[in-house]
């Protein structure tokens, strides 16, 4: 795709100069910046009003005392909310839980996704059908996914425990045990999101250049050698891109944990978004909720920036 784009651009650059001289080219570019800003206006207004303004408002609330009677932030209190939040074991634990979820779930989904994409890539009549069916888990609303898996994982009536019982395992307390509850949340998330990686990976595999493989074959490379030395390195840009998109979704994880475990047992699956939500809208501690949200915002933006630049570098190198 990028190759064809480049040729188009090169052609376009030459066209006006050859045709009617540089003056004509300048004439229809006149007023260009103004029109460009006109095109940008709707999006900028919407984002300024609904994104930028709320971020500053959150910052303001995080530095003030929240008066529940007036229901608005009053008075500057400096770092007080932040000091309180950083001493709140619940918040620190929710950060840890989120970290564990991200560190386990994302690589798992990437590996599974690419492995399944290779499976699906074998050429046969049903290939298209299978790929289309993989769209289905992806469009199941996360809150529905959480609810349905709660039934599947039910210790008493769940199909999973019944099946495990047949081979002599169990009964397993999927939702009741702190560690297993985390395993369950990651399992549900992986079920819901692996298909997304599969579809991106499958498209990437299909787009691999065929002539490289013919060359490798004539040079006598084996199947494993081809996979490790040629296919996987060629797929690095796709992997990097899929990882970034997946990351952007995963840091917002909220609904699966809410529907499947409600953050429990205890705080075992209380991801940070769920914890802040409960602090703000259940305990009505808007000041603390805002400082926590600000901390999460900063962590997320910094980590995303790092991931983006690594991904960009990987995409350009290969």
């Amino acid at each position: 795709m990028s190759v064809s784009t480049r040729t188009h651009r090169a052609g376009a650059g030459k066209a006006p100069a050859r045709g009617s001289g540089p003056r004509a080219a300048r004439r229809f570019r006149l007023g260009e910046p103004g029109t460009a800003w006109l095109f940008m206006t709707p999006a900028l207004v919407l984002l300024a009003g609904m994104l930028l303004y709320p971020i500053f408002y959150t910052l303001w609330v995080s530095f003030s005392d929240f008066d529940l009677a007036l229901f608005e932030p009053v008075g500057w209190v400096g770092w007080k909310n932040y000091e309180m939040v950083l001493r709140d074991p619940g918040f620190l634990e929710s950060l840890k839980v989120t970290g564990i979820y991200l560190v386990v779930a994302l690589p798992l989904q990437m590996i599974l996704g690419f492995a399944i994409a290779f499976l699906l890539n074998v050429e046969w009549r049903g290939r298209g059908v299978l790929r289309a069916l993989f769209l289905i888990p992806m469009v199941v609303a996360p809150v529905v996914a959480g609810g349905v898996w709660r039934m599947l994982l039910d210790p008493l009536w769940g199909v999973v425990n019944y099946t495990l019982g047949l081979v002599g395992i169990g009964p397993v307390e999927w939702i009741g045990d702190p560690t297993l509850a985390m395993v369950s949340v990651i399992l549900i998330d992986t079920w819901r999101w692996t298909p997304f990686v599969v579809l991106i990976a499958a498209a990437g595999i299909m787009a691999l250049p065929g002539d490289v493989y013919e060359a490798a074959k004539s040079d006598g490379a084996g199947r494993w050698q081809t996979l490790w030395r040629i296919t996987l390195p060629l797929l690095v840009p796709v992997m990097a891109a899929a990882f970034v998109v997946r990351w952007l979704g995963a840091v917002k994880m909220f609904d699966i944990a809410l529907a499947a475990t409600r953050g429990g047992p205890g705080n075992a699956t209380n991801v940070v978004n769920l914890y802040i939500y409960e602090k703000g809208f259940r305990s009505l501690e808007f000041g603390s909720a805002s400082s926590m949200a600000t901390i999460v915002l900063i962590i997320t933006v910094v980590l995303t920036y790092f991931l983006f630049s690594i991904s960009r570098r990987l995409e350009n190198r290969w």
């Binding site: 009617s20 709707p42 609904m50 609330v61 608005e72 909220f254």
Partner: protein, 289 residues
């Protein structure tokens, strides 16, 4: 002698390759079925009576009932909530599409100072977690008396849809040949005219797949809807979260499965109908940008 011996190892090799192929295809089918199972399970539970749901061993075949659909449909006001979700999802998707495509076009094709910074900022806003926005949205909406209204939820959804549309459409417009609008503009079209008359019709496939993504993302959104609605504008995910919370007592499996099926089915049909665009849009969205 030689001629009869020679094909034998070749045949064995071919046979082994065929066996490997069949094994791979079987594995692919099994994995797909495993991923589909929870959805099949949900649909089957939605048609079962409680006595057939809560049994060990699980019953594969049982009496079919529509009770779960009928009884809870009214009680949880599923129909009005479905309509709310459709209005909110369509509204947010269309507004985001218009604003996002125009911005994506300006960023991909036009000369302007600060385009790089602006584009970077819009794309960076994809990293803003919604949780950082909900407190002010709630407080301001409450102050203005705008809680529990469509427009509030729609505007909240715009925050994550517009950056997404800008990202996808910018990549899409970049892949179109530049001669398209240059020809139109030499013929006397303005930039705006060229965009609406030439570029938009040429980009319909990209726009349709992006629009579908937006509708799906808005359709299943929970956090904003949970905070900004409480009665009139409640969306389906909020209703489901309520039913799911109720299952802690045990017993609402049938209704939860029924509402879940009603939520998922339209999107699945929609997604399968346009799967080609969807898969392409997905891959492009991830790898270009």
């Amino acid at each position: 002698m030689v001629s009869t011996a020679a094909p034998a190892p070749g045949n064995r090799k071919a046979g082994r390759a065929r066996l490997g192929r069949i094994a791979t295809i079987t594995a692919a089918i099994l994995v797909t079925l495993a991923f589909l199972y929870p959805v099949i399970f949900m649909i089957s539970i939605s048609f079962k009576l409680p006595k057939d749901i809560f049994t060990i061993p699980p019953k594969w075949i049982s009496e079919i009932t529509f009770d779960n659909y009928v009884s809870y449909f009214h009680q949880a006001r599923i129909l009005p909530r479905m309509i709310n979700t459709i209005i909110v999802a369509m509204g947010a998707a269309i507004i985001s599409m218009v604003a996002g495509s125009m911005a994506g076009y300006a960023l991909s094709r036009m000369r302007m100072r600060g385009a790089g910074v602006m584009g970077g900022l819009i794309l960076a806003s994809r990293a803003v977690p919604p949780i950082a926005l909900v407190v002010p949205m709630f407080l301001v909406a409450r102050k203005l008396g705008l809680t529990d209204q469509y427009i509030t939820v729609i505007l909240a959804y715009v925050t994550f849809l517009v950056p997404y549309v800008v990202w996808l459409m910018r990549a899409f417009f970049k892949s179109l040949p530049k001669e398209l609008e240059e020809a139109a503009m030499i013929d006397g079209c303005s930039r705006i005219g060229a965009f609406f008359r030439i570029i938009v019709p040429c980009s319909l496939t990209g726009m349709v797949s992006t629009l579908i993504f937006c509708i799906i993302l808005a359709w299943e959104e929970l956090l904003f809807a949970l905070i900004l609605t409480n009665d009139k504008a409640v969306t389906i995910p909020v209703a489901i979260a309520g039913i799911a919370a109720d299952t802690e007592k045990g017993g609402l499996w049938g209704p939860l499965a029924a509402v879940g099926t009603l939520t998922v089915l339209p999107v699945v049909i929609f997604a399968l109908a346009v799967q080609k665009y969807l898969i392409k849009g997905l891959a492009d969205g991830a790898t270009k940008g």
